[in-house]
Assembly symmetry: C2
Homo-oligomer: 190 residues x 2
DNA sequence: GTCTATACACCGATAGAC
DNA sequence: GTCTATCGGTGTATAGAC
């Protein structure tokens, strides 16, 4: 013993999986089993215990959100192409609706006041990036902001409800339909 | 001692509050504190322990959903009036976005496989009732179903995200805007 | 860097007095 | 119908050997 069994990055990957499924209610036993490390070894990597593990996970997760989901919004192509690219990333990130959102899981779990700022930062960055693209697409600032919020609500709600009813199809349908709805021209008093 | 301090219905009210906030992660200490009853007294009402408490709470909660939120959809008035009535009920039920959804909280909490059927039943009944009204409003069955799903996704997602970012205003905005969006005429290839 | 062993609090649940 | 007292199990966290 003494030689590291897996890299710290791989440890974080596995911790993330557990926190995504269980929120802050994840237990050290689960985290230990899923990493293959004993509890005491986890404390070697994270002396601050579960709180430090969750903090590391949510910070890295927000970085992934930035890189995998937000960055495509600032890429090349038309606004609606970039929105479709984001939806593909979202579909991949949530494994077609089978995997949960870490921020959502943490929001629901008790004892997560310590992560409030991370949760808020993640959701806000996502909404802001979408709003920026929609502004670029010609929508007013206010409409862009409203539709960006609605899009994130739709994704998070679909994820939750589809998990609850045990059917991921409506989640994927939603992802397909969203870009067109978001960029549609406004109807004044239909 | 011996005389009941509060009615069983009031016990259920208080248990519901705790389960809504904490999901199945609610502890007997919390349930005891919020009811004013000692743990052992809770076992008098619910010999099956926490599982029986949660079952009673979710079953009653689904009955409330049926009575307070679904029933207005089958009332009098035009379809869009009934949708607006439902949104008012939803706003009241979630206290303007400050209170959580029991079904949502249970969905996210570990150890809730026992409530899967209740969760699915609640969400499904809600979606079906909305779809029925939208069909009545002249939408095709398929469009009605899709928009009903989207409406519940939007409500649940807004509830979650608004809780995460600590601002309930987008939730209430969403409730105001939803009825018009749901009943709008379809645009073919905008 | 990994492990075994352990400390101590809280968990859900039960026994039994009044 | 309420309570105090207590059980066994598991929770997070730590000590210390190798």
């Amino acid at each position: 013993m003494g030689a590291p069994l897996i890299s710290k990055d791989e440890v974080l990957n596995r911790l993330t999986r557990v926190f995504r499924e269980n929120g802050y209610g994840a237990t050290l036993s689960q985290l230990s089993q899923n990493t293959g490390l004993q509890r005491a070894s986890l404390y070697h990597y994270f002396p601050g215990g579960k709180e430090e593990m969750a903090t590391a996970v949510v910070e890295r997760s927000n970085a992934v959100l930035e890189r995998e989901i937000i960055a495509p919004l600032h890429g090349t192509g038309s606004p609606s192409e970039r929105l479709r690219a984001m939806m593909r990333s979202v579909d991949r990130y949530f494994a077609g609706g089978t995997e949960s959102c870490l921020l959502g899981s943490l929001t629901h779990t008790p004892g997560t006041h310590r992560f409030e700022s991370h949760i808020k930062a993640g959701f806000t960055a996502w909404i802001d990036a979408i709003a920026s693209v929609l502004t670029e697409a010609g929508l007013t600032r206010r409409t862009a902001r409203v539709r960006a919020q609605n899009a994130v609500f739709a994704i998070e709600g679909a994820l939750l409800v589809c998990h609850g009813i045990g059917d991921t199809k409506p989640f994927r349908r939603m992802l397909r339909e969203l870009p067109e709805q978001m960029t549609a021209v406004e109807l004044s008093a239909a």
